[in-house]
Structures are given as structure tokens and as C-alpha cells.
Amino acid sequence: MNWKILPILLRKEFLLEFRQRYAISGIILYVCSMVFVVYIAALRATPPVWNVLFWLIVLFASINGVVKSFVQESGNRQLYYYQIAEPVALLVAKIIYNTVLLLVLSALAFVLYGLVAGNPVKDLPLFLLILVLGSSGFSIAFTFIASIAAKANNSATLMAILSFPVILPMLLTLIRLSSIALRLMQDTAYMRDILNLLAIDIILVTLTVVLFPYIWKD
């Protein structure tokens, strides 16, 4: 496989985002308004509630951040990519780009939600590690599902119903790990959960790489 095209595709993704700033601004605004809505809806959130609400904010922000990655480009342009690049290279570029995007979004959500609702995180390095793991996992799963959902007319509904059940094991593991970072739970053997997450990520990457070419050809 020709990997030389990967940096070019990645550059394209960032350039595209930079040129169409309204899209990224929209998603940032989405995170901000969601943080405030969630904060006002649950004013005095105890740390366990904080934990769950935070991950729900990240989940919804991620879905909306990723879903546009296939929708926003027109059919003609996709045909052009299809001719010049291998599907796997395209997918890997999208996953890397979405991981970066989701990292920015979840960091933003953390800072904002921590600002308004207080920051109960006791073990910051662990929490940041969980954010990285979560962003990459969400990015892999959602990029794949978005590539399916983008082909349909009702892509927003499809995106939700296809991705929620699939993402659940990952979300549960993330909430569990982050409750360890919030010291809500004593568990010294959390390495096992991190390995579980990595294993899920690896399975998802393998599957998406194998299956994506079939979705991509139209």
C-alpha cells in the first residue's frame, strides 16, 4: 500500500477544516451550549453525576463532530478521492484527523465543564490518558459508522442508532476508569481496563480497515 498519500490526505483534512471554519465553529459552539445546558439542568452535580454527564457531553460532541466528516464533502469530490487514493489510506487519514478533533473537543468540554461545575478530578494524568483513549476509540468507531450513515438520507438518526449500542462497552469502560481517576472507586488493577480498551480499539481498527473498502466503492 502506498502510504505517501497519507500526509497529503491529512493535510487536506486540516486545510478543508481551516477553509470552512463555520463547520468547526459550529461544533465548538455545540460543545459550549451543551455544557451550559447540562450544567443548568443538573446544577449541583455530585462527582458520580459529574462523571456520567461529562462522558455524555463528550459522546454527543463526538458523534456530531465525526458525522460531518463524510457528509460535508460532495459526491463528485468523493469520486475524485476514490480515483486518486486507496480507501484504507483515506480511512486512516480520517481517523487520525477525527482523533485530533475529538481530543480538542473533549479537552474543551473538560475545561468548560470543569470551570462551571467544578473539577472533581483527583488523578489528572490518568484522566488525561482516559481522554486520549476515549477520543481515539470514539474516533475509530464513529468514523466507520459515519461512513455507512452518510450514504443514507436519514444519516443523523442512523448514526445514533447504529453507533450507540456498538459504543456502549467502550463508554462503560471509560466511565469506570474515569471514576477511578475521580477517586470514586478504589481499584488498583485498572491497567486491565486500559488493556480492555486498547483491545477493543485494535479489534475496531482491524474491522474498519477490512470493511471500509466495501463501503467506500459506490
Binding site: 466507520f144 459508522i145 455507512i148 450514504k151 443514507a152 438520507n153 436519514n154 442512523l158 442508532i161 447504529l162 450507540f164 449500542p165 456498538v166 456502549l168 462497552p169 462503560l172 469502560t173 469506570r176 481496563d193 480492555n196 477493543i200 479489534i203 475496531l204 474491522l207 474498519t208 470493511l211 466495501y214 463501503i215 459506490d218
Partner: protein, 351 residues
Amino acid sequence: MWWKSLSVVLILYVLIAGLLVPLKSGIERVSPDALRCGDTVALRLYGYNTFFAKNGDEALRVWLTFDDRHAIQAESAQAINDTILEARFRLPDYLPKGKTSAYLNVIADHPEAGASILPAGVEIRRNEAGSENGRADSLWRLHPVENLHVQTGFSYPYQNVIYETIRNTYFHVPMWFALMFLFTSSAWFSLKYLRDARQEYDRKAAAYAESGLLFGLLGLVTGMIWANYTWGQPWSNDIKQLMTAVALLIYLAYFILRRSFDDPQKGARLAAAYNIFAFASLIPLLYIVPRMFASLHPGATGNPAFGSQDLDNTMRAVFYPAIIGWTLLGYWVAELRFRIQRLEDKKMGLD
């Protein structure tokens, strides 16, 4: 087709044997259930499927056991009727290992009905503090539990809490075996569709998924019936129940995805890709996540669902045919769905 007849025969066998074969004898409860050291007590054992009065020449024997090596035997055991047995114990003044209180297992041995055990059947307390460990321990070792009889004949094990619901093993558990086989077949035909886009494969994948979904629902319902008797309520938000419900949602999403495209070929291709993806995420949902949380379900906290003591040879003789019978029935349902779908497509002029 031979396998359809086989499934009918096996399921009839499972229904008849599963519902009619009796349970082994067991002790349901004892009274009084709290004892004091040093007392002489008459303990009444209430049996289930027992025939205490029919004991022939050999005597009935009853023990209270502290652990594997410490037990006391009843001085006499008198059957009042077939289901009530009165055992007289002279309890020692001290408990083994210097304990002040303990739960004792009750073991009754009948020449024909065999030995039955009621785990932690009575609580025993000591009157005053004292530490004559050595002497107390030797009293508890005078009459070890030995020469137990085994009930012969075709019957299912008696287990407290589970009782007669043990028969659900032949209905609830095979549903999940059938579901795994059906979903595996569905993913297999999706894979075949991706390699060679024949409408036949897509219809087969969908039919197997539909049949698997049906068995998932049946497994959930039989599980809820079982939970109603053993856990106290049909739905207790157990992680295993929740994850199963989510797993079924994945397949509902698959059907929606398959039908949400104007171009059926495009829908079939995307649905096939999602089906494989969904099958892979089924494994963590059903087998990894439930082990991370506390659960009432057997096998959820790391042990296998069925140990050797749960499934004896009599149960195996029904359980394995049940798995084969229900799985074949699942394939039969899938085949019917597949043929109906093919006829409908022909009528619509899609084929």
C-alpha cells in the same frame, strides 16, 4: 429434510423429559434454625420429594457439619412422615476452632433417596466465651460424614433457591447457543455477500439475523421467568440483562439500515458491512462487559456458568439434545423466513 424432523424429535424429547423427570430428594428447611451450644435439640427436617418413612432396614442418619472435617451426628433420627424427619442432637459445649457462632450445613442420608444437603441450614451460637479448642474439636470429629448413599435413577439435582426451575436450563440456555450459531451464520453470509454480491446471500444473512433476534427475545423472556423465581423479580437491571437488551438493539439497527436505502444493492452492501461489525461488538457486550460488573447471573463474575456440580449426567442427557434441537429449529425458522422473502422479492419483480 432429515434435520427438521430431528429438531422436532429432539424438542419433543426435551419437553417431555425436561418437564416430567422428577427432582432428587432435598431438604427444604429445618426448624428450629437457630441453636445454642450445649443444648439437646429435636431438629425437624422438612424434605422435598423425600420418602423418609420408607427407609427399610438401614437407619436414617443426619449430621450437622461445620466444615469438611468437623461434624456431629444425630443420636437418633425418626421419620414422622415422608416429608418430615425429626433428628435429636446433643450439641457440644464448644464450636470447633474457638468460634463463637457459625452456620452449619445439614446433611441427611437415606438408604434409597441418597444424601441431601441444606447448606448453612442452621445458625449455632455459644453461650459463654471459652477457649478449650482442642477438646471441643475432638468432639466434633467423633462421627465423620461417611458411607453416604447415592440416589439412583433418572432425576435432576435438587438445589436450594432453584428448586424446580432447574428445568429452565433446557430452554433458557440453549436459546443463547442457538442465537450465537444463528448470528455467526448471519455474519458469515454477510461476509460472503461482500465478496460476491449475490442477493441470495443478503437475504440469508437477514433471515439468520431475524431468527437470531427471535431467539434472543425468547432467551430474554425465559431468563426473566427464571429471574422472577430465583432473583425475586423479572427485571432487576442486572448487567447481563441490560447488555443483552443492547445486543438486540444492534440487530434492530441492522434491519433499519438494510431498509433505509432506495437502492437495495447499496443497502445490502452497507448492511452486510455493519452486520460483521455488529457481530464483532457482540462479543464484548455479552461476554466481557458483564464480567466487569457485579451480577446475579451465574457465570458473570468470572466462573463458567455451569460447573460440574450444576450439571450432572442426567441433565447432560437432556441439555445437549436441547441445544441441538433448539439450534436446528432456529435454522428452520431462518430458512422459512428466507424462502418467504425470496417469494416476496419475486412478486415485486426484484429478483
